[in-house]
């Protein structure tokens, strides 16, 4: 299987790296928002996309185009993301291409699932929360990024 693993730079990325044992035995391509983060996954293909947030629609558009272009080129079987905006975009585009997708909501969301996670619910194959009390019918809890 070919997995595309997406996370924006910072805390989301650190959480994504902690999922790595689950990718073992598969081809993995990483995607993030800062070139300097490539060093944390040396030996793997690493793609950079512009960061985006809801405040800046133009930047958001360039992120959408960039993520779309990469997904078309990489042709992953599975997309896994810990957020934020580029991950959500990956989930939506993944749905468009019929790719299996999983959203792991950040462990920082302790009271409610993130806004992006709420949107991802409509598109992702699987949604994880990292807190047992936030699990619902469609949002599952299976441990968290800590151990």
């Amino acid at each position: 299987m070919k997995i595309l693993a997406i996370a924006s730079a910072g805390g989301h990325w650190i959480q994504l790296l902690r999922l790595q044992p689950s990718f073992e035995g598969h081809e993995v391509v990483f995607m993030s928002t800062k070139t300097s983060f490539a060093s944390t996954v040396s030996g793997y293909k690493f793609l950079v996309v512009p960061d985006a947030n809801r405040k800046n629609p133009f930047k958001m558009l360039s992120t959408v185009l960039s993520v779309f272009k990469h997904i078309k080129a990489v042709k992953p079987h599975i997309i896994i993301t810990t957020g934020a905006a580029p991950g959500l975009i990956g989930i939506v585009i993944g749905k468009l291409f019929g790719i299996k997708t999983a959203w792991v909501d950040s462990i920082a969301n302790v009271q409610t699932i993130s806004m992006s996670g709420k949107i991802a619910r409509y598109f992702a194959t699987k949604i994880y929360t990292q807190w047992p009390d936030l699990a619902t019918k469609g949002t599952i809890y299976r441990g968290n990024v800590l151990s």
């Binding site: 805390g11 650190i14 902690r18 300097s36 896994i80 999983a102 299976r142 151990s147």
Partner: protein, 160 residues
């Protein structure tokens, strides 16, 4: 060395100012602060803007204590490297964050007793003095990866 980090998104003057002011009481040790465009003029600390991941890890390793906003990246890195961490959450009422998310995160991890938390500047100064001159050790130790349950669930998802 004390390493201060406030993430890369927005300034956090309250934390930077409180730490800069308390530095002389700590005996002016080496303090390295990643400040992300804070407007406060730092007098007693060495400042940096963006720090690449490799350099970030080196600074965490070298530090005696980490002081930070309630960002998960820093909290996880500190616990993984078994470093004592003191966290002050960014608050919505001061425009430090777009929601009250950091306060909720800080409270949750405080209750779990994973991290030291200061809810205002005064508490930050008190706690850093206590930690710096007292016995400071990591409250919780993390392994390198997610919990086995999450890894297994994702493996199943990938293979099904």
């Amino acid at each position: 060395m004390i390493f201060i980090t406030i993430g890369t998104q927005e300034p956090f003057d309250r934390l930077i100012k409180a730490m800069d002011e308390v530095a002389p009481k700590l005996g002016n040790p080496e303090i390295i602060a990643q400040i992300s465009g804070s407007s406060y003029l730092v007098k007693n600390m060495k400042t940096m803007d963006f720090i690449a991941p490799s350099e970030f890890n080196d600074l965490v390793k070298r530090a005696k204590i980490i002081v930070s906003h309630a960002g998960m990246g820093t909290i996880i890195s500190a616990l993984q490297l078994r470093k004592p961490i003191l966290v002050m959450p960014r608050l919505l009422k001061f425009g430090e964050h777009r929601n009250e998310h950091q306060l909720a995160t800080a409270r949750k991890f405080d209750r779990l007793n994973y991290i030291n938390v200061a809810y205002d500047e005064q508490e930050l100064q008190e706690k850093i003095l206590e930690m710096y001159f007292g016995e400071s050790k990591s409250l919780h130790e993390l392994g390198d990866f997610a919990s086995p349950e999450l890894i297994e669930s994702l493996q199943e998802f990938i293979n099904e």
